[in-house]
């Protein structure tokens, strides 16, 4: 059973069935936008969306997460001991995740699941999650997934992929996890393989054609880091930036965090929270010194990390899946596509002619 | 000189004012401090704020001293302070000068049978009523009448009881203060009892001539206090209701009776016979009214050299004037004793300070029993044991009396032996005892700020007498909070600043010259800056004083002294172009005579004076016969023939004063006009002289002049603000029309001299105010540090104030204030070095956003911006610790949280709050 067809009724029933074995997450319309939320009760995913406002990364990597609890009350036997709180490791399913967002988990995994270090919090959540993708038919004007190693119907990072089909959906199991989920949902109505392959291929091709904006990344790897670092265009790129951090909070591939203790009386918890390289505090030293004290340094860091250091460290791709959220939500219209092109095309020899302020 | 010291029967060095004796003393007698309205014991402290706070025994009522029985206090006293064998002692003091400040006695109205004061409990003197209104008084401020403890609904004040009265008593002078205190009592009574309390003040002339007083009067009217111009003849009881009936005549002649539930007699100030006897013993002259006689140009000097006077013994006066006099007397004595200055000083031994920075806190906790004061309620040993368990506490002790000298010595020793680096005392209030314990820290070589107090007496044992267990728990909480703060406190530095020994006096009038002379006579180099080309100021326009002195003669003498004085430099035709610096270290740029000069000085006295209002009303300027008061003086000085030939003269008072646009009384114009009316009458007894007035404000012994004028036939006609006199010209005739207040009909007076008693205007020295960062009030006069207690200085340190720049006042009062300003300035100069408090605000420059809020907000101008060229933190704000008063305004205002108050840091306060939270 690789391909199944699902009619509207089966779909709705399937979502309902899933809830007995999984915590189900899916897109929900809130105001004018969609967000991924846990679907409780009768709630079903609203599949009529193009891209959610926030990325679904918080399903695996919550914005604020407790690592330990402790007490300093010496009358308690377990005082001064860091204890892990009880957490919910039950299986969870993300229904309707877009392929670009799905890819982001693979990129982030490189950080949280490396040979040297395995982050237990992220990994536990990740491993408990089954990702059911939803092929994208109408990419936004800001989308550039095809330049970022993904595609509207790409399957990287997915356990199953669902596409539209007359009167319902067609689904493809990609992993065993995906297969198990489809079984649990009762989506077992097998589909003719050739017909299905054709449907998936047609849909993919049609969607891909709609992506008009291509971003060049081919030369990033070969540029010397210091050339890019010293490039004069950063002043211009950074000028309008207000360091608000919207881009990092919305980005599916931004993984940085900050660890904080919070206590009340003798009771305390250690939490970790999303952090942003746009914030001066991100790099402030206890001494008061801040190696990235200037806005331009922080802006450069964000783009260099995504488009150069990542490339160099992992030898492939970029740390971006082309979802376009940062382009869309930046209040001052800083466009990563423009920056990426600029970096890719940068020639320090020719730079002397440019109108940039540092020359 | 010899002084008699009456026995206290309590050894001052032993008494720690624990109050055990008072608890047990069986003898109850009327409390003199509370005007006999409450009871106290035979052993007592006169009042709660008494200094020193030591008990004494009243020998006239003490059972032991009278009958050799009782002695309860002696048995109970934990320190053995009671000594019944004390004898009267005569001390011989070797002094060079004496200042008399014996005060006054309120007039006793018992002799006035028509007022029934002796018979009716609800007729009170104002001094008694003050106690009723006081929170520390017999009713704790609750306004009730003594006969039946009912809250009165209607209260009447009768003014001029024992003042301005030669009919029923022989006190012709005005007591100066009663109008104002009656209004104050009425306003406070309304505040205590609610707006529906009916307050009526029966008066002759409303004399609110002090600074801001007229506004207070107007506000009282707005608040509904009734002012009735009538002298009430008698107070008649209404049956046995306790109420009283007053009969009076209203302005329009109606006879009215009204029933009041409480009557307050505004009794005057008088010199008691024992003071008259003292004056006789000392050989000093008194005035007709038995006040100390002084000269207008030497307002605090008695007739005997080296003996000075201040306060109500010199004449009836209020607190600000008394405080001014006190400063002047101190200054006069200082001038007199100048050669002996610093001949009797001693230098205290200084223990080197231990460096505790980076040491782990070692807190010592001293829990005080305060005799039974604390230990009677709180379980002190339990609190001490508890303290031992707290973090960083290394040593705990409980003391019977922490404040006693021997305990202090032990504490200092303990600090050294135990290597303590933070000290917490859980005892009474830091308000009285913190400095004492801090001295002990200093003696033990610790920075005095490494100290924290927990008030387990006033805030605990005293208020939770009936809940000993909870009180003990609260004491533990307070100690825990104090310890948590103590662990975080840091030694603080007090900045020492050299005080430049030169003084600058701005203004070369009578006030400025007197201030300068006083400073120079006490040994300080002084500069006078005068914008005109001569010394003398407004006084040059005055003819004679009521004393008969020709002002010009005295002025000339004074100016000659100034010019001959080697220590005084006079800068004529000079103004200030800029002022930099602060107390002790001013740098002032003088501009004049074609150049600029920078002067360094430690203090500044502002004596910039005032000016005469040039009237826009009453056709001033349209006829040469219409004069201002000063123009009349000029004519008198010049012996102008117009004076001799005049058949009629009219004075109009309050020209430009007490008007909505200038709502203050110019204080001197009534006396000035009355005095000049006498001069006119003397020059030409047949002249018809009229004074058109609103209230005649010849306060104090100036009242004699008023009487003299009336006796000479000067006619006084009252008008009110709504019906001001009108001046018109009929051909050559100059006619003043005024509505006669008795007849109620218009009256035309043809006059040859019309004198307009015009207001005194401030010079509105806005630039100067900015230079020295001192405030001006709405009227344009400078605002002193404290209306009552600091009249001759500014809130800004090192800047002082006198004369008309402060408020309109006559020459004698200006001179007194000039000397007071000099006296205040010298307290600063004499120290040579000033130490600021360590508890000042400090800016963390890395958090400062340079928004300037602190710079604009600080009332003391302590924050400034660093120069943009500075190497470290250019342009950030910083606080000059020498100017900072630690008020915390900037700390609260700083959005960036960059400012903190040393000694009250956020982390210290939060530590206290969080450790309190643990309690619950």
């Amino acid at each position: 059973m690789k391909f199944v067809k699902i009619d509207e009724k089966q779909w709705a029933e399937g979502i309902g069935k899933l809830k007995s074995g999984y915590r189900v997450f899916g897109p929900v319309k809130e105001g004018k936008d969609h967000e991924f939320r846990e679907l409780t009760g009768d709630a079903s995913p609203d599949m009529a969306f193009s891209n959610t406002r926030l990325s679904p990364k918080s399903v695996v990597y919550p914005q604020s997460e407790v690592m330990f609890e402790y007490t300093t009350d010496e009358s308690r036997p377990d005082h001064h001991i860091l204890k892990e709180p009880r957490r919910d490791d039950t299986p969870r399913a993300v229904i309707g995740i877009r392929p670009c967002d799905a890819l982001s988990f693979l990129l982030v995994r490189r950080n949280f699941d490396s040979p040297e270090y395995k982050d237990p919090y992220w990994l536990r959540n990740y491993e408990a999650t089954t990702f059911v993708g939803y092929g994208c038919n109408d990419p936004c004007a800001t989308c550039f997934c095809t330049s970022a190693g993904s595609a509207p119907h790409d399957t990287q990072g997915l356990d199953a992929l669902v596409v539209d089909r007359d009167g319902g959906y067609a689904a493809k199991a990609i992993t065993e996890k995906g297969e198990a989920l489809m079984k649990a949902a009762g989506w077992t109505d097998a589909m003719d393989e050739a017909e299905a392959e054709a449907l998936f291929a047609d849909r993919a091709a049609a969607a891909e054609k709609k992506i008009t904006r291509q971003v060049a990344t081919d030369k990033l790897a070969e540029k010397p880091s210091m050339d890019l670092y010293d490039a004069p265009f950063w002043e211009d790129v950074a000028f309008s930036c207000i360091n608000c951090g919207t881009c990092t909070y919305l980005c599916p591939t931004c993984w940085c965090f900050d660890i904080q203790d919070e206590c009340r009386g003798c009771e305390g918890v250690r939490t970790r929270n999303w952090d942003s390289c746009m914030a001066p505090l991100f790099t402030a030293h206890g001494s008061g010194h801040n190696p990235r004290g200037e806005k331009v340094q922080r802006v450069r860091q964000r783009f260099m990390h995504k488009l150069k250091y990542y490339v160099d460290k992992y030898g492939e791709g970029i740390q971006c899946v082309g979802c376009g959220r940062c382009v869309r939500s930046c209040p001052v219209n800083i466009d990563i596509r423009k920056v990426c092109d600029m970096m890719n095309a940068y020639d320090p020899e020719a730079a002397n002619d440019c109108a940039c302020p540092t020359t | 000189m010899e002084i008699v010291r009456h026995p206290r029967y309590v050894d001052e060095s032993k008494c720690i004012a624990c109050g055990a004796c008072y608890e047990k003393c069986p003898k109850k007698i009327p409390d003199t401090y509370n005007q006999g309205l409450a009871k106290r014991k035979a052993i007592y402290v006169e009042y709660a704020q008494a200094v020193p706070l030591k008990y004494r025994i009243d020998p006239d009522t003490c059972i032991y001293l009278q009958k050799k029985k009782c002695g309860a206090c002696k048995k109970l006293c934990p320190t053995g302070a009671i000594d019944f064998d004390m004898k009267e002692k005569i001390d011989t003091l070797n002094v060079g000068s004496v200042v008399l400040a014996p005060g006054f006695k309120p007039f006793d109205p018992s002799g006035f049978d028509t007022y029934n004061y002796a018979n009716l409990p609800n007729v009170m003197t104002a001094t008694e009523f003050e106690r009723i209104l006081s929170a520390s008084g017999p009713t704790t401020g609750h306004l009730i009448r003594m006969s039946d403890h009912k809250e009165p609904k209607k209260i009447a004040w009768l003014q001029c009881v024992g003042s301005r009265d030669i009919n029923r008593c022989d006190n012709p002078a005005c007591s100066s203060v009663c109008c104002m205190y009656a209004i104050k009592e009425a306003v406070i009574a309304k505040e205590h009892s609610g707006d529906d309390l009916d307050c009526a003040i029966f008066y002759m002339d409303m004399r609110t001539m002090g600074k801001e007083f007229e506004r207070f009067y107007e506000n009282a009217k707005k608040k509904g206090v009734r002012f009735i111009r009538c002298r009430v003849h008698s107070i008649v009881p209404v049956g046995d209701t306790g109420d009283m009936e007053l009969r009076y005549v209203t302005d329009d002649g109606q006879v009215t009776t009204e029933i009041f539930e409480q009557v307050v007699l505004s009794v005057g100030l008088q010199t008691p016979p024992e003071l008259v006897a003292l004056a006789d013993r000392l050989g000093i002259s008194l005035t007709k009214g038995n006040f100390c006689k002084t000269d207008p140009f030497e307002p605090v000097a008695t007739s005997r050299e080296g003996v000075y006077v201040c306060g109500a013994f010199q004449g009836p006066k209020d607190i600000p004037q008394s405080v001014i006099d006190a400063g002047a007397a101190a200054s006069a004595a200082g001038e007199f004793l100048s050669p002996a200055r610093n001949t009797l000083t001693r230098v205290p031994e200084i223990v080197p300070e231990t460096n505790v920075i980076n040491e782990r806190p070692r807190v010592g906790v001293f829990v005080c029993r305060c005799g039974v004061n604390i230990a009677g309620v709180v379980d002190v040993p339990a609190v001490a044991e508890y303290a031992r368990t707290l973090p960083y506490v290394e040593f705990v002790a409980d003391n019977l009396y922490s404040c006693s000298q021997d305990t202090q010595d032990i504490m200092a020793q303990t600090i050294r032996e135990q290597n303590l680096n933070r000290v917490v005392v859980a005892a009474c209030t830091p308000k009285t005892h913190e400095p004492l314990f801090q001295e002990t820290l200093i003696a033990a070589g610790l920075n005095k700020y490494l100290f924290e107090m927990a008030n387990i007496r006033n805030q605990d044992s005293w208020v939770h007498k009936n809940n000993p267990e909870l009180a003990t728990e609260k004491a533990m909480d307070l100690v825990r909070m104090a310890v948590s703060k103590a662990a975080l406190i840091q030694p603080l530095k007090e900045t020492a600043l050299n005080v430049n020994q030169a003084a600058l006096v701005i203004g070369g009038g009578v006030s400025g010259m007197n201030a300068a002379r006083s400073l120079s006579r006490q040994g300080y180099v002084t500069h006078i800056v005068e914008k005109s080309d001569t010394l003398g100021g407004q006084a040059r326009n005055l003819h004679t004083l009521p004393s008969g002195d020709k002002v010009a003669d005295r002025l000339e003498k004074l100016a000659a002294q100034i010019e001959a004085d080697e220590k005084i430099t006079v800068h004529l035709n000079t103004t200030l172009a800029g002022v930099e610096g602060f107390v002790g270290n001013f740098k002032t740029t003088l501009a004049g005579n074609g150049g600029e000069q920078v002067l360094e000085h430690g203090v500044a006295v502002i004596a910039t004076g005032g000016q005469e209002y040039k009237p826009a009303e009453y056709r001033y300027g349209e006829d040469p016969r219409i004069l201002t008061s000063l123009e009349l003086d000029r004519k008198l000085m010049d012996n102008d023939p117009a004076i001799e030939s005049a058949r009629s003269a009219v004075f109009i008072q309050c020209v430009g004063s007490r008007e909505p646009e200038r709502p203050y009384c110019s204080r001197i114009c009534c006396t000035h006009s009355v005095h000049n009316s006498i001069e006119l009458k003397r020059a030409n007894p047949d002249m018809n002289v009229f004074i058109l007035y609103r209230d005649v404000r010849t306060y104090g012994e100036k009242e004699y002049l008023y009487r003299e004028a009336r006796e000479l036939g000067v006619i006084f006609v009252r008008f009110d603000l709504e019906h001001k006199p009108e001046v018109r010209k009929d051909g050559d005739r100059l006619i003043v029309r005024v509505i006669d207040h008795v007849l109620g009909i218009p009256m035309d007076i043809e006059t040859d001299i019309l004198t307009l008693a015009s207001a005194i205007l401030p010079n509105r020295e806005e630039k100067l105010a900015r230079f020295f960062k001192v405030p001006l009030n709405e009227d344009g006069f400078f605002v002193e540090k404290h209306a009552k207690l600091g009249p001759s200085e500014f809130a800004t340190d090192g800047v002082f104030l006198c004369g008309l720049a402060h408020y309109p006042k006559p020459i004698d009062e200006s001179i007194a204030q000039a000397r007071a300003a000099a006296s205040r300035a010298i307290t600063l100069l004499a120290r040579e070095k000033i130490h600021t408090s360590g508890q000042v605000a400090e800016i963390n420059p890395s958090w400062c956003s340079q928004c300037g809020t602190c710079v604009s907000l600080c009332p003391y101008s302590a924050p400034t911006f660093r120069s943009p060229e500075e190497r470290f933190w250019p342009g950030k704000a910083e606080i000059n610790p020498a100017l900072c008063k630690g008020c915390g305004l900037c700390v609260a205002s700083c959005r960036s949280g960059a400012i903190h108050l040393k000694g009250f840091d956020n982390d210290q306060i939060f530590a206290q709050i969080f450790s309190m939270n643990e309690a619950g």
């Binding site: 604020s64 407790v66 919070e262 009340r264 918890v269 | -």
Partner: protein, 49 residues
């Protein structure tokens, strides 16, 4: 903000007005006691995701 009105009180009390201070402290204490324990704006221990 939605804080119950009785929980916040502003008063201008000079250092000389001890009786007023005591009165205001008593009034505020009584007002707050009447409202009972505060339930708004209490920070619970951080939630586990």
């Amino acid at each position: 903000m939605g804080l119950e009105p009785g929980r916040l009180h502003f008063s201008w009390i000079s250092s000389a007005e001890s009786t007023k201070f005591a009165r205001v402290a008593q009034e505020v204490t009584e007002a707050v006691k009447a409202l009972g324990p505060n339930r708004h704006f209490l920070k619970e221990k951080a939630k586990v995701a």
